[in-house]
Amino acid sequence: MKRRTFMMSAAGAAAGLALAPRMSFAAKGQIDWYTSSDTNILDFWTNIVKPGFEAANPGLKLNLVDAGDGAGIIAIGERAIAAKQTNADPQADYFESADALLPAGAIKAGVYTNIKAAGLSNYSKVNPLAIESEYSLPYRGSQVLLAYDTTKLKPADAPKTWDALVTWIKANPGQFVYNRPDKGGSGGNFVRRAIHQANGLDPKAFKVDNYTQEFGDEALGKAWKLLADIAPHLYDKGAYSSGNTQSLQLLSQGVVTMIPVWSDQVLQAIEQGVLPAETGLVQLQDLALCGGFTRSVVIENGANHEASLKLADFMLSEEMQSAILTELGGFPGVSWDHVSADLRKKFADIIPQSIPTFPGGKWEAAINDGWYRHVAPNVDRKS
């Protein structure tokens, strides 16, 4: 009995320690940096950017923190707004990936820095196609592709249009899986590609401010029909993995033949041997799957504002932009003219002519809710 009592109290004490609130204050010279991206991005910052930046700027340090997801970043943004109002320390300096429009009112409150006006020496190199707002800095891009197992599907037979893809999925039941659209961009952008398909292949039809209930129901309803139509032919008669990584896992275990993937994630997986070197990659030619640029935001009222601007400028340097290509498998945020000539030649195949994008805002909530209601359940998986 004694031993048991001891174990219970020890477990209780340990739980208490773990749950005790931890206080922290922003340290001088330590940039509090947050990301909502996947682990590969955090690894890239930990292994490449942090040592490079700290060596180039003695006395400055990066504190890399994973905020989980977009909503996590928004929560910290809200904290920064609240801190601004009370003149407190927001304990945040730099968001690796953020939407300058979220949380609503952050720009108006003066929490996000106007990057264009901040006088970064490298700002003129930024790819003009990528600039969405003066308050955010596109520093890397990524695109969703289809990855497939070349031992089961010959590259010559890989589908290159949406219709060919649907035909292939139906002819090979159980061999395709995409993740839930809110749990990772690979499945999310596959779903958005279906929305484009159902609405005349025109990405311009969807804007961040043109969502209405009627338009949304009509446009998305057509896409849900397309997706529900292929659902019975997906992995396990309509199962959806719970994230980008889980889809890669299913491909690497040889369970499925094809999945949508982020270009940077799949190139890194191949590099690390998680996926075999002969993994095939293909982009749809009628309209590419969506992708986009990741934009960083600098917090105006952060304790290390000057240092954060230095970091932003550092990210646009040729050294870092080349590392995004070679180490991360992403593509640069600066125009291709500002990338070294050998790299430009080497990556000619993935230099995108255009990257279709899909707006966030109300569309995002409508897609997330609608997909779960109309696509996910409509399948009898008991058999």
């Binding site: 209780g12 909503a71 396990d236 889980q246 896992q249 275990q253 369970v255 997330n368 996910a376 359940p377």
Partner: protein
């Protein structure tokens, strides 16, 4: 935590009146924490879902979010799968843990010590690690499939991404707590009473039914209400192992709040979850009260 509360509460009743302030002080911290972190947010959520501000800025009594929840097929399916998972897990836990606890109580030597260590192991494995290990072992083309294939048997129908995925994970995760509580309950079964029953010719089943079970029924209730509370509100395992739809209330709430950006809907789901958890909690409180009445 409740174990400590219970112990702290019992101090003043057992000892001299002079120690009463210390006892109260010991209770004050957990009570304060519970009020701050549990009761206040709960009241807050209830009031914000029934007293709502409309577009014109008028606030009024409004039950529409509840009406929506209970008329929405999708939400009800999620509630149903949560209750189903909880029930199945509770039954499986009892079926698995009671024999383990009985074995540990009535056997001696080295082997039971190893069995106990093994039974408690899940307590020290974070559920996210458990989930990925599960996918590697029971997932499609996982270790089980490879082993079956090696001896020429067909693959299993994997429980990954079906409602059985979270059930298996949650049962494994809750074994230690259930075994420990049942074991402490079995501590109150005196060897003499079992020997006396054996002497008058009772067989194993009768001993279990008439001597052991009545003594530990309280512990069973406590163990089940504890694990049921945890399972009902679980998040990680149903999220990683379960199907996209129907989903358990934990992932559903998180998704409604973050991805559908509907805080009122998420709070409504939370209040419905409170409601069910209070029901389970009542079992626990009732059994503790009955125990102390003895």
């Amino acid at each position: 935590m409740s174990e400590f509360v219970e112990k702290a509460v019992s101090v003043p009743t057992e000892t001299a009146a002079g120690r009463r302030p210390i006892g109260l002080l010991l209770v004050a911290i957990p009570v304060f924490l519970v009020i701050w972190l549990v009761i206040w947010p709960a009241i807050n959520a209830i009031s914000r879902t029934i007293w709502r501000t409309d577009a014109d800025g008028h606030s009024s009594f409004d039950l529409s979010s509840y009406a929506f929840f209970f008329s929405d097929r999708y939400s009800l399916d999620n509630l149903a799968v949560t209750l189903w998972t909880t029930l199945v897990c509770a039954v499986l836990l009892l079926v698995i843990c009671l024999p383990i606890a009985l074995y540990l109580r009535f056997s001696h030597g080295r082997l039971p010590a190893y069995v106990q260590a093994l039974a408690i192991l899940p307590m020290f494995v974070p559920s996210i690690i458990l989930a990925f290990a599960f996918i590697r072992v029971l997932g499609p083309n996982g270790m089980v499939d490879i082993l079956l294939n090696a001896v020429g048997l067909p693959k299993i129908r994997t429980p990954y991404l079906t409602p059985w995925g979270p059930v298996i994970g949650l049962v494994w995760d809750n074994i230690p707590l259930t075994v420990l509580i049942l074991l402490s309950g079995l501590g109150s079964v005196a060897n003499q009473s079992i020997e006396a029953a054996r002497d008058v010719g009772a067989n194993t089943i009768r001993v279990f039914w008439h001597i052991i079970l009545p003594r530990i029924s309280n512990s069973i209730l406590v163990a089940l209400s504890f694990s049921v509370l945890g399972i009902f509100s679980s998040f990680t395992l149903p999220y990683l192992l379960g199907p996209a739809s129907p989903e358990m209330l934990g992932p559903f709430m998180q998704r409604t709040l973050r991805d559908v950006q509907d805080p009122i809907g998420a709070m409504t789901q939370a209040v419905v979850a409170f409601g069910f958890c209070i029901l389970f909690g009542l079992f626990y409180v009732r059994s503790v009260a009955r125990n102390r009445g003895k």
